[in-house]
C-alpha cells in the first residue's frame, strides 16, 4: 500500500510485517514458530528464543486477540518517538492472540475505555505519514 502521495511504506522493523503491504485488511504481523518446542515469538528469528532450536517457520499471526493488560502513557516517551505532535496520552497493552503469544502494542481509542479481557483487532498504523519515507507500524483497537 502507498500513502495518498503514492510513497511506498517501509516496515518499521524488517521481518515483523507481512509484505507486500497491499491493504489495511490484509495487513498482518509475522511470527516465528518453533518446530521443536512449539513456541511462537513475533518477527522472523533465526533461532527459537525459548529452546535455541533452528527449525523455525514464519507464520502470519491472528489479527484478533484479547487485552491481557494495559497502561496509559501520560508523558511523551523519550527518544525518537514518532507519534502525534503535540503529544497525546495513549494506551499501551499486551494483546493475547489465540496463536499463543502476547504482543506489546500501542492501543487506539479513548484512553478511558480500555479494560482487561476486551476483544482487540490489529491495525496498520502509518508513522511519519507526511515524510518522504513513511513507516508501516501497528496498533490494536477494541472491537465494538
Amino acid at each position: 500500500m502507498s500513502t495518498a502521495a503514492d510513497r511506498p511504506l517501509t516496515p518499521i522493523r524488517k521481518g515483523l510485517i507481512s509484505e507486500p503491504i497491499d491493504s489495511p485488511e490484509a495487513f498482518r504481523l509475522l511470527g516465528s514458530k518453533c518446530g521443536t518446542c512449539g513456541e511462537l515469538s513475533i518477527g522472523t528469528n533465526a533461532v527459537c528464543l525459548n529452546c535455541g532450536g533452528s527449525d523455525l517457520s514464519t507464520v502470519r499471526l491472528s489479527p484478533e486477540g484479547i487485552l491481557w493488560t494495559f497502561t496509559i502513557v501520560r508523558h511523551a516517551p523519550p527518544g525518537d518517538y514518532r507519534g502525534p505532535k503535540p503529544f497525546a496520552p495513549f494506551g499501551l497493552g499486551l494483546i493475547e492472540l489465540p496463536d499463543g503469544v502476547r504482543i506489546m502494542a500501542p492501543l487506539e481509542g479513548d484512553i478511558d475505555t480500555f479494560r482487561i479481557g476486551a476483544r482487540m483487532r490489529l491495525n496498520l498504523k502509518v508513522l511519519d505519514a507526511d515524510s518522504p519515507a513513511p513507516l508501516a507500524a501497528f496498533s490494536f483497537s477494541m472491537i465494538g
Binding site: 501520560r74 523519550p78 504482543i103 506489546m104 507500524a137
Partner: protein, 381 residues
C-alpha cells in the same frame, strides 16, 4: 571455602549535585577504605559498577586515590550492575587472585525518563514503547486484576518508603507525604503515580571486600557475604527485557524468584531467617510483587501483606528501611551497593532511627533491564 566479608563501606549521598562522577565516586571509595581501616595501596583489584558513565570510568575515578597498576574493570548489568560487580569481587577473592578488593558503584544521570536507546530497539522507541514505567504499570494492572491488589495498597508502600527516608541523610527526597498526597499525585502510567516511582539521579557507594582471616588481623566490624547471586530472566519471564512479545503458554518463574532461591540455597537460609530487606522499588507496585517473589508471603498476597504493616521497620519483615529507590533515587550503577551500605549499617546496629531491632541478617535485591537481577545476603559475624 573460607568466608568472604565486607570490611568497610562508604557512600556519597544520592541526589543531584554540581560535582563530577570522579568527585562523588572517589569520595565514596575513600570513605570505604577509611571505614575498613586500609589504604588504597592495600587493594589488589577494583571494580566499578556503572551503566551510564563512559568507558574506563573505573580507572578515571579511582586514579584520584593515587597512582596504581591494579586491574580496574567496569561492570555493567543494568540495575543489577552493583550485584554483578560485587560478585566479581567475591570470585576474585575465592580464586585466590586477590585478597582485598574495592567495589565502587557510581552514576551521574540526566533528569527525566532514561535514555531509551540504551535498552530498546529503534522501532520500539519510534512506536512509543520506550517509557520504562509503562512496563511496570502493566504488571501492576494485571496483578490488580488477578489478585484484587488496590491502588491504596500500592500507595501504602510509597508512603512507608518516603517516611523511612526522612532519617536517611543519603536519600534524595527525605520528605514524608500523606496518603492523600501520594494518591493525588499525577499519573505517570496508570495506575502508577509520580510519588510512587523512583527517579534517576547521581550517587556513589563503595565496599571493601576481603577474607575473614585478613579482616580478623585488621580488626573493625566485618559482615559476612552469605550469598551474592546474579541472573537474567528466563525466556518470557519478565517484561523488563524490554519484551516485544511474551509467551501465552510458558509461565517461567520471574528473575527475582529464581535469583532469591539460589541465594537462599547458597546462604543455607530462607526468607524467614532474614531480619531486614532492601529491594528494587523502582515503583511501589514492584515492591509488592517482590514480597511474593522472595517468599515473604504467598503469590497474590503482596498488597494485603503491605497493608497489614509487616514490612514496616517495626514489622516482622522490614523492607526498604533506607526509604528505597522511591526516596533515594536510582543512580543505576550505585543502587545495589547503596542497599549493601544500608544493610551493613543495620547489621552493625548503626542505622539510628531506621534501625531494625537486633538485625543479624539482611538482603539486598535489584532488578532491571534485560531481566537482570541480583540478590546479596549478608550476615553479622
Amino acid at each position: 571455602m573460607s568466608d568472604v566479608v565486607i570490611l568497610g563501606v562508604g557512600i556519597h549521598p544520592f541526589g543531584r549535585f554540581d560535582k563530577s562522577a570522579e568527585e562523588i565516586g572517589a569520595a565514596a571509595a575513600q570513605q570505604a577504605l577509611d571505614d575498613a581501616g586500609v589504604k588504597w595501596s592495600d587493594i589488589d583489584s577494583a571494580y566499578l559498577s556503572r551503566m551510564y558513565l563512559p568507558a574506563t570510568s573505573g580507572a578515571r575515578i579511582l586514579r584520584r586515590l593515587g597512582g596504581t597498576d591494579i586491574p580496574i574493570v567496569d561492570v555493567e548489568a543494568a540495575c543489577a550492575s552493583g550485584g554483578a560487580a560485587l560478585r566479581q569481587a567475591l570470585l576474585a577473592i575465592r580464586s585466590g587472585e586477590s585478597e582485598m578488593v574495592l567495589v565502587l558503584g557510581c552514576e551521574k544521570m540526566p533528569r527525566g525518563f532514561m535514555d531509551p536507546s540504551m535498552i530498546y530497539a529503534p522501532w520500539q522507541v519510534q512506536m512509543g514503547m520506550s517509557l520504562n514505567p509503562s512496563y511496570w504499570s502493566m504488571r501492576a494492572r494485571r496483578h490488580m486484576y488477578d489478585h484484587g491488589t488496590t491502588e491504596e495498597q500500592i500507595a501504602l508502600v510509597a508512603h512507608k518508603n518516603h517516611r523511612n527516608s526522612v532519617s536517611n541523610p543519603n536519600a534524595m527526597y527525605r520528605k514524608e507525604f500523606t496518603m492523600e498526597q501520594i494518591m493525588n499525585s499525577p499519573l505517570v502510567c496508570d495506575p502508577i503515580r509520580l510519588l510512587e516511582i523512583c527517579a534517576p539521579n547521581d550517587g556513589a557507594a563503595a565496599v571493601v571486600v576481603t577474607t575473614a582471616e585478613r579482616a580478623r588481623k585488621i580488626g573493625g566490624r566485618p559482615v559476612r557475604i552469605a550469598a551474592c547471586v546474579h541472573s537474567i530472566a528466563r525466556y518470557s519471564a519478565d517484561f523488563r527485557c524490554p519484551a516485544d512479545s511474551m509467551s501465552a503458554t510458558i509461565d517461567n518463574p520471574g528473575p527475582t524468584e529464581v535469583t532469591a532461591k539460589q541465594a537462599y540455597e547458597r546462604a543455607g537460609m530462607g526468607p524467614h531467617d532474614i531480619d531486614c530487606f532492601e529491594v528494587q522499588d523502582t515503583d511501589a507496585f514492584c515492591e509488592i510483587e517482590i514480597y511474593e517473589d522472595i517468599g515473604l508471603c504467598p503469590r497474590g498476597d503482596g498488597g494485603r501483606f503491605a497493608q497489614e504493616g509487616h514490612t514496616q521497620i517495626t514489622g516482622r519483615h522490614p523492607v526498604n528501611m533506607s526509604g528505597g529507590l522511591i526516596s533515594k533515587g536510582e543512580p543505576v550503577g550505585a543502587s545495589h551497593l547503596g542497599q549493601v551500605v544500608e544493610v551493613v549499617a543495620q547489621l552493625r546496629g548503626t542505622a539510628g532511627p531506621r534501625q531494625v531491632a537486633d538485625a543479624k541478617r539482611g538482603m539486598a535485591h535489584v532488578l532491571g533491564a534485560g531481566g537482570n537481577c541480583a540478590v546479596t545476603i549478608l550476615e553479622r559475624l
